[in-house]
């Protein structure tokens, strides 16, 4: 089982999201995150889906997505060199005694504080899964009161370099 990031270009028509979501639930595929938004091209939306499964399952997921009539293109970015980012909002307990340390972590991770109150900080983090996992891990001990995540968005790198 591994996670695959799939970039799925679809016709932006009513019901397209439920076609995709229904495909995953109906066939028992696992979906980890899903992000959808319009592209620059009129009538076309881009979905970034992180799906879990072994190679055979992921191959089926890709083929089944392609089979949906409104699907224009499906790319498995995991097979390519790509840039992946997710944005997360974290509301963290921040009493006076802990605030300085939290701000230091925010600084190190190059995140932003986007809201502040007497005893809470809301932090905006953008990064790949590694960075997000790391900061959540570090902030956990202060107490994360709320979390909202966008799910991954991803793009193939312009230059695919042989390593």
């Amino acid at each position: 089982m591994s996670k695959h990031t799939l970039s799925v270009m679809v016709e932006n028509e009513p019901g397209v999201l439920s076609r995709v979501a229904g495909l995953f639930s109906g066939r028992g595929f696992n979906i980890y995150s899903l992000n959808v938004a319009p592209t620059l091209e009129k009538g076309v939306s881009l979905m970034t889906i992180v799906a879990e499964g072994d190679d055979g399952i992921v191959e089926q997921i890709v083929k089944q997505l392609r089979k949906l009539i409104p699907t224009i293109k499906v790319k498995d970015l995991t097979e390519l060199q790509s840039v992946e980012r997710e944005m997360v909002l974290l509301k963290v307990n921040a009493e006076d005694s802990k605030r300085a340390e939290i701000l230091r972590i925010v600084d190190i991770f190059r995140c932003k504080v986007v809201d502040v109150s007497v005893d809470e900080l809301t932090i905006e983090v953008t990064g790949d899964q590694g960075k997000i996992g790391a900061i959540i891990n570090l902030l956990n001990r202060f107490g994360i009161k709320e979390i909202a995540r966008t799910g991954n968005v991803a793009m193939r790198r312009s230059m695919q370099i042989e390593l």
Binding site: E11, G15, S18, R19, G22, Q60, I69, T71, I72
Partner: protein, 563 residues
Amino acid sequence: MKLTGAQILLKCLEEEGVDVMFGFPGGAVIDIYDEIPNSSVEHILVRHEQGAIHAADGYARATGRVGVCLVTSGPGATNTVTGIATAYADSIPVVIFTGQVPRALIGNDAFQEVDIVGITRPCTKHNYLVQDIKDLARTVKQAFYLARSGRPGPVLVDLPKDIQQQVTEFEYPDSVSMRSYKPTRKPHIGQIRKVVKLLKKAKRPLIYSGGGVITSGSHEDLTWLGQTLRIPVTSTLMGLGAFPGDDELFLGMLGMHGTYAANMAVNNCDLLLAVGARFDDRVTGKVDTFAPNATIVHIDVDPTSIQKNVSVHVPLVADCKPALASLKAETEGTLDEFDWAADHKPWVEMVQGWAKEHPLTYKDDSENIKPQFVVEKIYEITKGDAIIATEVGQNQMWAAQFYKYARPNTLLTSGGLGTMGYGFPAALGAQRAFPDKLVLDIAGDGSIQMCIQEMMTAVCNNLPVKIIILNNGYLGMVRQWQELFYDKNYCATCMDAQPDFVKLAEAYGAAGYRVTEKKDVEKTLREAFAVDKPVIVDIRVEKEENVYPMVPAGASLTEMLLV
């Protein structure tokens, strides 16, 4: 020319060459029905919407054209769902038009409102809710194109009542252009040459032919390949009729109720050429031991079918028709230099040896009527020149085993979904398409009661379908499983409380016969087939006869229970 939505719909159907549709009216389609008398499209009124969709499906299977069905919103629409799923499982091109409440009421839980597009999303190839009258003609065009192209399937178009009433300029598009839908058709020539090379190398090749061969109309090339290169052929239930059933190279069905020869051939072949088939669990048995000695080539138009259940060595995504034509073209040149017949002779002899060792058979009885005997008699009397629809269960398997299908599109059966009640309405659709042909429904006493109401449709539309009930007073296939695997706990499978089928037929204005003596079987069938109206022949067969061979669910194909 300005037309209403209802008029536009009927114009579109005329443009698509639709000559008949099967339907049932209701409030949300009354505008369409209002226009039907002005159209060249004939409407056949069924007695239940499930009958309409199955009839459209049967029409499609028998003709190869798109079947059409028209029903109202809400319950009218939901009653078609079983039939839509049936068509979807077997890749049958049908277009279903459903009425919908006016757009302003959608989402309000209005009278007879359901989200039929949501309900049928997983069992249609695609579906539409028409939200703008300007999209109507294009949507209908796309629906027909999608239904029949690539891997065919059902397409549903939901039509709000106010759209049917609105007026707009009508123009039917000449062609369909969809950037997101370009079905693969032509095979990759490199892959074709690879297959030819494998065929030459193989000493024990086997063709495993499926419904895709019939759908694509490639039965002639398949037959040529089998007969010319001397390759034995086995078929799925859906593929029966693509290769002549009486040919010496034809092994019959494979899988759960396949023949001994076919299943042994799968187990021993060194090359398995799967064409338009999808390695269904009823075909493969235990996947790990399926065709263990073979290099597997898989030709299918649907990429999702490939590598889904069984890992294959040579995938070939293409419509079966150009793929088999290309295989033929590439092998035709080898006929002078390569003696295919001599090369495959020992293998063909081995396979035919299996067929002799354990042919498809049953223990005949001098007194009791064996259901297999009835099917054999039907074959004998019709000389194979009939369209056979079946219900689902034992009747279906005997109809598949003991009738030799000579041509494609002559067996109409719910293979993938296994829908009881399918056969009779499907036979009506086929009879409407071929008024002069003998169309039979080989039924069980359980299945026939699921859509028996369509007898009225048959009678009042002069569709003289002949229903042959293999009446054993049981839901026979389930009873067989209970006997073999559930300690004979015949819970809920004994159905000996049943109507008098002869009187039932007569009540509808059809003819009814009952056969209780073996000696009367042939005589009565002949008499029934000559009657120019719908007929029920109620044949009291051996009650606890089983379908054999049988591979228990999940077992390997070689673990067959024989007669």
